[in-house]
Symmetry: C2
Subunit: 358 residues, 2 copies
Amino acid sequence: MKNEDEPKDKRLKPGDAQKLTMAEVAKYVGVSAMTVSRAFRQDASVSEETRKRIMEAVDALGYVLDLSAGSLSSRRSGFIAALVPSINNSNFSDTARGMTDALQNSGLQLLLGYTDYSAEKEEELIEAMLRRRPEGIILTGGSHTARARRMLAKAGIPVVETWELPEDPINHVVGFSNSEAMALLVRTLASQGYRKFGYIGGTTARDTRGSQRRSGFQKTVEELGLGPGRMISFGVPPITMEQGGQAIVSLLERWPDTEVVLCVSDLSAFGAIMECTRRGMKVPRDIAIAGFGDYEISSICHPRITTINVDCYGIGRQAAARLLDALHTGEATGDEITLTGYKVVLRESTDRNGVPTA
Amino acid sequence: MKNEDEPKDKRLKPGDAQKLTMAEVAKYVGVSAMTVSRAFRQDASVSEETRKRIMEAVDALGYVLDLSAGSLSSRRSGFIAALVPSINNSNFSDTARGMTDALQNSGLQLLLGYTDYSAEKEEELIEAMLRRRPEGIILTGGSHTARARRMLAKAGIPVVETWELPEDPINHVVGFSNSEAMALLVRTLASQGYRKFGYIGGTTARDTRGSQRRSGFQKTVEELGLGPGRMISFGVPPITMEQGGQAIVSLLERWPDTEVVLCVSDLSAFGAIMECTRRGMKVPRDIAIAGFGDYEISSICHPRITTINVDCYGIGRQAAARLLDALHTGEATGDEITLTGYKVVLRESTDRNGVPTA
DNA sequence: CCTGAAATTGTTATCGATATCATCTTGCCG
DNA sequence: CGGCAAGATGATATCGATAACAATTTCAGG
């Protein structure tokens, strides 16, 4: 569908209107380019009258500031990078929202990337981001490739790691202990009389938060003298709802007398519950199931799912706030650790009195 | 926790290592900066030997390319912008994944922004993106503010609108008719004998895809002589699972004899089903419910949800492909419309024979 | 051994804004 | 009315890479 012979083509050629530069706006208004540049900034000293005239011209001509030129000259890119494992996960998108909100009036934009739970992909993304010279960077977790660490160190910008408490933090940390959180859930359920604990999670170590939850489970079950936990590993993290369903089948085949199953996330817990329901088992009457993360689904589905509520939004907001602190104080603040909250949310899926049947 | 008096502070000051420039790498290797620049690109003619030496130096020194300088000089920013309504929505994140995959070896990066279903926020984001001079832009839907349209026209870059078939397309379109898709679902269910149709959706016109689905429903119900549809509007789009639950309660209060309810999305359908279950109604025995979007949850939950499956991933992949076409052919291709597929997926939630009870 | 094309490398100007410093107004106070 | 600080504006150099063209080297073929 080419039509090179149609001259009145309304489509834009490269550089059709694009060419417009600050100098041209300046000429149009009758001031210097520098004054136009100043008019675009809050603090700069330009008389209100001049700024108004400039902005009218900008509007009339349809000029759009060119940040790639600006950031080269000012050595400020005006954005911070944030890497999350997945965009399609309400926990992380809440975190992203927290970051965006915290950056609201800072003049900084958030650039999101997703790593797919892969340290290699994270490394690639870190490099891609650093090439655009972010003023700071927020990562999820504390597990990075050696090269990624080297690049970050060289970059000379503040780094915030989130959602975990890394053993060897790069800089700032905003998070909580996934292992402790899971331990709390185990102890809470044990105190309600549950004794035979099962666990469902992904197979590999890709998802470090998942592994931490798993080890928190394992450790606590043993501490309480409830023997080794009944662990099922299924699928590559992050495990899906469907895999949660498959996992509980294997688990119950192997240990039919299991009383309660903890899942690495609410999504797998939901899959497990649905699969049980489909097979004629009642949750929690025949088996209790709990998740992690307090996703929307857990308070809606039937039965409602017991879980750990994490302050996802707060993690994002505080991570961004830490970064802003670091930038304002000339990046001389300490490498602090900000602990964020979590709490057990007990719901129907582990209710010892069962749930009113539908 | 300041410690300005601790000189051996390992933390980085601004410009600690950052300073490294291409010229320094060049000096280190004993070539010109231009040669270093060439070494970073695939096509450029640099002897293998020189490139190797340069890359070793880059590694040793920890140099990271500066794209903000590069793109100013080359007038190519190396990224395309994509705006989606929400990142926490598996439909759109599948679309984003499709885009990322399609851009794989193009040398272009994807920059995501989310508009929160708001045209004003979209306008802001478009401006923020254009300031960084993307080489193309992908939007969701065809509803934009006048200023957004003006800015896009001026920008002189290819634009792809997705997920709908706008009446007044800017440039390329990759999508399908939401209205037709919903109509198909209505006809399919009507052919199974359903007669009394209800509909649940959000209130305002913010979500244009939602409104299109609604009007497709309305039109078709009337065409089939099934009277005016029983419409419940509840909550600001995108409506949540919980709102789906609240909506079905109002709907059944008002029209207790409703046989089947179509929802603007699977999420509200799920909420509606759970609420019914909780109130002792069986789906589909007492009432049938269907959704839209074929989210993971719909094939997992109990009962499984009848829905419309949309080729989300394909929308993203093709949108990016269209953009690449336009860029390669010197943006002289026609403003084409690429239709993407959808299909009805019949599941338990509308099964006329009921569903095996748990 | 010479010639010309291809391959490799270097030089210089430039992209479009902003930092920095200089200049020019304005207005207030003694 | 002089003087000076604060405010507004302008001129110029510069950020760090790449485009464009020039220069040099390499090498095949006669």
